[in-house]
């Protein structure tokens, strides 16, 4: 079922936490609300769930306006960050609670509970209480409780944040797999950009109560709409250099004390002197030797080995540093003088004032 959010605003007293949120989640897609803590993503999810009232704006499920519907009338399911299992009920009763309060016949409840427990591999835990389960097992029960009712919309509020790193990776793949099997629209909240990138069909990047960009993982990574998105998505984070727009012959160019870089030809006429920020990902930079032609020269400050790659931090200019990602077998040592090549095709330019992407062409 589609979920559309139309000019949603939310205030708690004088504090406005969401501003004019316009989003449309297509049916059966895995959509992630991604942003740092306090960006309003959880509040937005709770409004979709009906746990928080909308200050202004319209929420629709399909064609139906749900603003004033109670949570139980929305046919949604939600997985909470804390799992929120009913402590006094066994796993079996936790899983079946939603069906019991909806007066489903007992036989059907048993069938549904058994089916979900088998899928999630928790069928041996059915008679235990939540206190007797490990974190990963509780996580599965919370997931099972949401799955058992076959909801139209599946809401998840940072469900993996309480798990250890290894389990998180496993669960990421499983959640993605369950989403495909469930045929429901999934709205997933996280502050972890890696989770968002690996699991989502669509990502809404949020900051300060405003949706900064809404697009596929490839779009938000490859064509960030503004400085915030560019800096938030991608690990290691993008390098930024502040400078001005200049011209070199008939071509526009980026100019700063550390770097002068000719840009794509025939662009940005009539706006030289404007303050802009150049962003380039560590993966898009090339490290070369001291003698080879390069865009910037600098001294290696630190080298971090990640396994298959190395991150090389290079000091350029007075106090600036740039991160360059190279293959692990690249020979580079601290205090080497190196050159860094910047490919003009792989840079992102942003307006220094507004932070918005600066379209050169």
């Amino acid at each position: 079922m589609d979920v559309s959010l139309d000019r949603i605003n939310k205030s708690f007293g004088a504090v406005q936490v969401l501003r004019d949120v316009d989003l449309m989640f297509p049916s059966r897609k895995f959509v992630t609300l991604l942003g740092p803590s306090g960006c309003g993503k959880t509040t937005l999810l709770r409004m979709i769930a009906g746990l928080e009232a909308v200050t202004s704006g319209t929420i629709r499920f399909g064609d139906r306006v749900v603003n004033d519907l109670a949570p139980r009338d929305r046919n949604i399911a939600m997985v909470f960050q804390s799992y929120a299992l009913y402590p006094q009920m066994t796993v079996r009763r936790n899983l079946g609670y939603g069906l019991r309060v909806r007066k489903t016949p007992k036989g059907d409840i048993d069938t549904a509970v058994t089916r979900v427990a088998r899928i999630l591999e928790i069928d041996h835990l059915l008679d235990r209480k939540p206190a007797q389960l490990s974190g990963g097992q509780r996580q599965r029960v919370a997931l099972g409780r949401a799955m058992v009712r076959q909801p139209d919309i599946f809401l998840m509020d940072e469900p993996l944040s309480n798990l250890d790193a290894k389990l998180r990776v496993t669960m990421r793949a499983e959640l993605r797999r369950f989403h495909l099997d469930l045929n429901a629209t999934t709205v997933y909240v996280t502050h972890d950009q890696l989770e968002a990138m690996t699991m989502s069909d669509l990502i809404a990047v949020m900051h300060g109560g405003i949706v900064q960009q809404f697009g596929t993982p490839a779009e938000v990574y490859g064509k960030p709409a503004n400085l915030f998105v560019a800096g938030f998505i991608g690990s290691p984070p993008m390098n930024f250099i502040t400078g001005t727009l200049a011209s070199e012959g008939d071509r526009p160019a980026f100019s700063s004390p550390e770097l002068t870089l000719p840009l794509a030809p025939g662009a940005a006429k009539g706006s030289p002197g404007r303050d802009i920020v150049l962003g380039v990902r560590p993966q898009d930079l090339t490290l070369v030797g001291e003698q080879e032609p390069a865009s910037i020269r600098g001294r290696v400050w630190v080298v971090e080995l990640l396994g298959s790659e190395k991150l090389v931090e290079v000091t350029i200019g007075e106090r600036r540093r740039m991160t360059v990602q190279v293959r692990a077998d690249t020979a580079v040592n601290v205090d080497d003088v190196v050159g860094v090549r910047v490919d003009p095709q792989r840079v992102h330019l942003f307006d220094a004032q507004s932070g918005a992407i600066f379209r050169v062409s």
């Binding site: 769930a49 139980r72 909470f80 929120a84 402590p87 309060v101 909806r102 409780r145």
Partner: protein
């Protein structure tokens, strides 16, 4: 045996000795009461005294439970025309039960709802009310007795069990509310939200999710309230008059007011009085610890 082993052993023996002594001091009156209640009159004052009765008799219990008048006559004003306290024992027992259960029921119902409101709804004073209520509990109950008695006179409730029920609610409610408040605060709101999404109504959320989760707290508060009401003497003494309406604690005192004290009967009454609370305690002590524990951490 090495030196450290010797000291470990000594320490352990010493602590057991202390524990045994304390246990003896606490248990001896109970054991003595039980022993005396099972002795025939001739043996109660025997020298040397016997801890284990030579002859076991149930005549004291029989007298109390069947209400058979004993041979002693009362000189007290309230006990006249051939009546003896033993005749009223079962009546008083029932009165105590009514008052205890009634006041506990009201206290628990009100304090649970109040605690839920204080922890879940937003209004002015929601954070200070529990502490003020605890303060109310710290005032000795004797201070409340006479003002409350005057209120009961106004309400025309004196010498009724209802007056006692209301009186006990007044002294148990503040602490029960504080305890329930501390307990409710530890229940995460997410489980209620999860139930709402699962399809439960507000009432179902409260009865099926909140109450069962709060059960240890409810049990702890109930035990507290029952002990206070069951054991109270002061309120009963002031509020009640007629023999028919007395509670056990006040009634049993009448055993002293005769020309001589029938110790066997008195001890049997004491044992029977202790029994309900002892059974309750043993059955629910696990929950009691859990309940007070939760309060201690969160309060």
């Amino acid at each position: 045996m090495s030196k450290s082993e010797f000291w470990t052993l000594t320490r352990r023996l010493a602590s057991y000795a202390v524990l045994c002594a304390v246990t003896f001091v606490v248990c001896f009156p109970l054991v003595w009461a039980l022993s005396t209640s099972l002795k025939p009159k001739s043996e109660i004052f025997a020298t040397p005294p016997t801890l284990i009765p030579r002859t076991v008799t149930l005549e004291n219990y029989e007298a109390l439970l069947t209400g058979r008048p004993q041979y002693f006559q009362s000189a007290g004003q309230q006990v006249s025309s051939g009546t003896t306290p033993a005749q009223f024992f079962t009546r008083w027992f029932v009165n105590s039960m009514i008052v205890t259960l009634g006041s506990t029921l009201i206290s628990i119902t009100v304090s649970t709802l109040a605690a839920y409101s204080l922890t879940r709804f937003r209004y002015w004073g929601r954070n200070v009310i529990p502490y003020f209520s605890l303060l109310g509990y710290m005032v000795p109950s004797i201070i409340f007795v006479f003002p409350l008695f005057l209120v009961m006179v106004q309400l025309d409730l004196t010498d009724s069990l209802l007056s006692l029920v209301l009186g006990y609610v007044c002294i148990t409610l503040p602490f029960c509310m504080w305890l329930m408040w501390a307990f409710m605060r530890s229940i995460p709101i997410e489980i209620e939200e999860a139930a709402l999404i699962d399809g439960a109504s507000r009432v179902q959320v409260f009865t099926q999710v909140v109450l069962p989760t709060a059960l240890p707290g409810i049990i702890a508060a109930s035990i507290f309230s029952m002990i206070v009401s069951w054991n109270d003497y002061l309120f009963g003494r002031v509020f009640l008059n007629s023999l028919d309406n007395l509670t056990l604690t006040v009634g049993v005192m009448l055993f002293f007011e005769g020309t001589h004290v029938d110790w066997g009967l008195l001890m049997a009454a004491s044992v029977l009085m202790t029994l309900p609370m002892a059974i309750l305690f043993m059955a629910l002590q696990r929950h009691l610890v859990a309940g007070f524990g939760a309060g201690a951490v969160k309060g």
